[in-house]
Amino acid sequence: MIRLEAITLAYPTRHGDVVAVRDLSLDVKRGEFAAVVGPSGCGKSTLMKLVTGLVKPTKGRVVVDNHTVNGPLKIAGMAFQNANMLPWRSVLDNVLLPLEIVEPFRSQFRQKRASYVERAEALLTSVGLSGFSHRYPWEMSGGMQQRASLCRALIHEPALLMLDEPFAALDAFTREELWCVLRDMWQRLQFTVVLVTHDLREAAFLADHIHVMSARPGRVIKTKHVAFEKPRDLDVCYTPPFVDLVHELRQDIAEVRTS
């Protein structure tokens, strides 16, 4: 699904080029859940932008769905640490936003609005937001907004979901709740996920593969297969192999930070 081939990306700045990633290679199969971890500033958000075609690599090639990426992908759902809800739209209208943009929904939006609304309501219900669709984002807590943000990223049933630290601003309980929400959605819809996170437990709980990046200029220095049976239960986080895995990742990152 996704292949990054020896990507180098330099941001031009006033003080010369900042090389954010160098020789970055990555492979993500269709339907796979990939997590990317690494020290702060190593180029994780840059990786997201590269995959979605929002920035062009200085060197190397990005391939998504067997096509070289030359511009914005047009199909990816994205969610960030901030929910980025539009405050003048109700939750429902926020969730419907992608359908107003992505074809073929876009040209049928008027005729099929009723069925789209139904779809959005179903999605909102599945994340525990039934009955909130006519509220405004600012009437909801951060955790609720983040749920709605996930719905917005998934409403057009994208083949690819890109998440950049989506749960980082939430409390531990809400975060674990949303892990399960995401897990269930992924099990149900089978899209490909790239999740950038600082939370190693999050990565280990959700992902099939965890890619560890080096300090800037970032590249993937290690890919760890996570073999726990799926669908996973939160209890898996308290088993010795899980704790060992998190511990190992922790050491890897501590190493690249100091080196």
Binding site: L86, I101, W138, S141, A153
Partner: protein, 256 residues
């Protein structure tokens, strides 16, 4: 209880100010030709209500005409400037230069071009009031959250989509906020022009009254101006609240 006091406060303060003014005029026996007392001004307003109404109407419509032009032009230019960084860069110095010219200095030119009368007043009102609208609309467009833009672009949205779905709605609070400022400035523009080159309007009336040493009438004119100004400000403040209530409420929300 505190709510009623809050609501009454503007009236109490205004009345208090007038009371002090009145008392000071009587206590220190201030000459009417220097500073007429409020009671004298009110008397003049009643006595001269006809010319005040007639000229007040002229000032109001020239101001609104200039303001109307400023709104359409300012909105269009603001959208254009907010649309592209290149246009923004190109126009910015021109606009700053233009805005720093005192508009009084333009009136004589306008008189040469359009003659004495209402046209220079309308144009002055327009020139002085469009700038805040442009700046506000452009700011609203230019400060779209980059992440929101990423979300939309990754869905295949083009620039126009982003402007229509995010840019313009989010610029609306800035736009309606700027109307309050623009309408006040428009009054300044039309009255300045009327003072210099006109044969109608409150500015004209006040200059005339001044040269005839009718100080109470001058102040009555000022009062009429203040009333018009406050009324228009209130109209646009109310419009702002109506149109963009979400901006106020969302900035007060707990989750941010």
């Amino acid at each position: 209880m505190t709510l009623t006091i809050d609501r009454l406060a503007p009236w109490i303060f205004t009345l208090g100010l007038f009371a002090i003014w009145e008392a000071a005029c009587r206590l220190f026996n201030i000459d009417q030709f220097i500073l007429p007392a409020p009671s004298v001004i009110v008397e003049a307003m009643v006595r001269y209500y006809k010319p005040l109404l007639r000229n007040g109407f002229v000032t109001l419509w020239t101001t609104l005409a200039g303001f109307g032009l400023a709104v359409s032009f300012g909105l269009a230019l603001g959208l254009l400037v907010g649309w592209s960084r290149t246009i923004y860069r190109g126009l910015y110095p021109v606009m700053i230069g233009f805005n720093s010219i005192p508009k009084v200095a333009v009136v004589p030119i306008l008189v040469v071009w359009f003659g004495i009368g209402e046209v220079p007043a309308i144009i002055t009102a327009f020139l002085i009031s469009f700038f805040p609208i442009v700046v506000n609309v452009a700011t609203g467009l230019a400060t779209i959250e980059p992440e929101m833009e990423d979300v939309l672009r990754a869905l295949g949205a083009n620039k126009l989509d982003i402007m229509l779905k995010v840019g313009i709605p989010r610029a609306m609070p800035y736009f309606f906020g700027s109307l309050k400022i623009a309408i006040t400035l428009a009054f300044v523009g039309s009255v300045v022009s009327e003072t210099i080159a006109s044969n109608a309007g409150l500015g004209f009336l006040m200059t005339q009254a001044g040269s005839n040493f009718q100080m109470p009438l001058v102040f009555a004119g000022l009062m009429a101006l203040a009333i018009e100004g406050i009324a228009m400000y209130a109209v646009f403040a109310a419009l702002e609240r109506r149109m963009t209530g979400w901006a106020v409420r969302s900035s007060q929300s707990a989750a941010g």
